[in-house]
Symmetry: C2
DNA sequence: GCAAAAGTGTTAACTTTACACCCATGT
DNA sequence: ACATGGGTGTAAAGTTAACACTTTTGC
């Protein structure tokens, strides 16, 4: 166990980030290998202490950048964890954030020395993590599954022009179930927020799919009036 | 403004509680009148710092008790607030909890001297509060409204034996809309979780309503299988 | 007998589900 | 010609929404 005779901190707080990554196939979670005690060499989600004069949302962004090289990611707070002994060095309450992004398998480079490396790990098979990070990831997954039923999550994960099958794969990966293609397409198109473009896939060895785009500004104005975009 | 030349704290954390009260009529929020700086004599929601060796959930319970005399209330964490300057004396991140309880107009007695008094205030007309407490109450209300659409909130607010009209009033107060009686009754009964008792109201100057009870253990087992009790 | 809330059914509109075949493209 | 995923319609079942009158009780 990584607990040792480490100096005690005053009570303090940290932020932790659960970053889900999707790449047309599989849902993964971003883990780092820690390079500092406690839990040195353990896998963990990116997290660290908040500076004294730093907003917690800003701290989450900074910490994620330092440990993984990722930036400009919209992080959403979902829960805080504050058991007395969740941190072996002292009392640390952590505010947890999550996001889901397009995954590409290049470009995860820790900027600070706190993490040795950063990599994607399948969301359905998370290893044992440092601190209470398994609990944090579980709660983030629940939150994500819940959220997709009332907000259009998918469009952050897709290029501006995407096919309906790409969109369907996102729902299937997050909800962990197969969805009927015809019913899915009918439902998504019924909201009137997807515009079919005069463009098709090229170079695919099957019938080329149409590209669509998501009408974000129209969504925002409908949302204000109580409209809900989702799939249960 | 209540900011003064007060001593600076080290970074620290607090808990704040938004307690909704319902009494067959109206939804209210529990406020206290502060008796300590900062914001002395302002209205606020009950909240205070967490002790070094105290779990945050336990701290929320303790603080609520000390400021209002209420105890044995199931508090649910819903968000944390951590702007740099939300507390005039220094950096204080707060973890916010909410609950909804049966309101009776006796028995709100601050135990500690931090609050001068505690009282219920209509939820649709909250006055200006200390710190960022207006923002916290707003977010709690949103959370409550959202929650009622997928969990059976009402039964904590009712006596064990209740009428369907009492239940309907809860939904109407929280969702802020009128609901059709027949449709409401059909929907609630369709879940098969309400048992009609062989008892009726007494002494009412109109036809006496039947009492029902909620089958909590059956609900819990259905919930595990993915069942959702709610009204949208 | 009047006021007040309880209790009760039906219909139309809409939503969800289940299900199978032909189409376009590259190799 | 075949393998691959794209694209399409319908019917049955279930859910929601709208709507008005009779019953019971106390005063």
């Amino acid at each position: 166990m990584a607990k040792g005779n480490l100096p005690k901190l005053h009570s303090d707080f940290s932020v932790d980030c659960v970053i889900f990554g999707f790449d047309d196939e599989e849902l993964k979670v971003l883990l780092v290998e820690r390079n500092e005690p406690p839990f040195k060499a353990w896998k963990a989600i990116p997290g660290n202490l908040v500076y004294d004069q730093e907003d917690i949302d800003a701290a989450a962004e900074r910490v994620l950048y330092e440990l993984t090289g990722l930036h400009n990611i919209f992080l959403e707070q979902f829960y805080s964890f504050g058991s007395i002994d969740r941190h072996p060095q002292g009392r640390v309450i952590t505010v947890a954030y999550y996001s889901i992004i397009k995954r590409n398998d290049n470009g995860l480079h820790p900027v600070s020395g706190y993490a040795k490396k950063a990599y994607w790990w399948p969301a359905d098979n998370i290893p044992k993590l440092a601190f209470d990070h398994n609990e944090i990831v579980d709660k983030a997954l629940q939150t994500l599954r819940h959220k997709i039923s009332y907000e259009p999550i998918g469009f952050e994960l897709l290029p501006e022009k995407f096919t309906l099958t790409q969109l369907q794969h996102i729902y299937e990966a997050i909800l962990q179930k197969r969805i009927d293609k015809r019913n899915f397409r009918r439902k998504m198109l019924s909201y009137g927020l997807l515009t079919e473009l005069n463009q098709k896939q090229k170079g695919v060895s099957h019938r080329a799919a149409s590209f669509f785009k998501f009408n974000k500004s129209r969504y925002r104005s409908l949302k204000k009036k109580g409209f809900i975009f989702g799939l249960r």
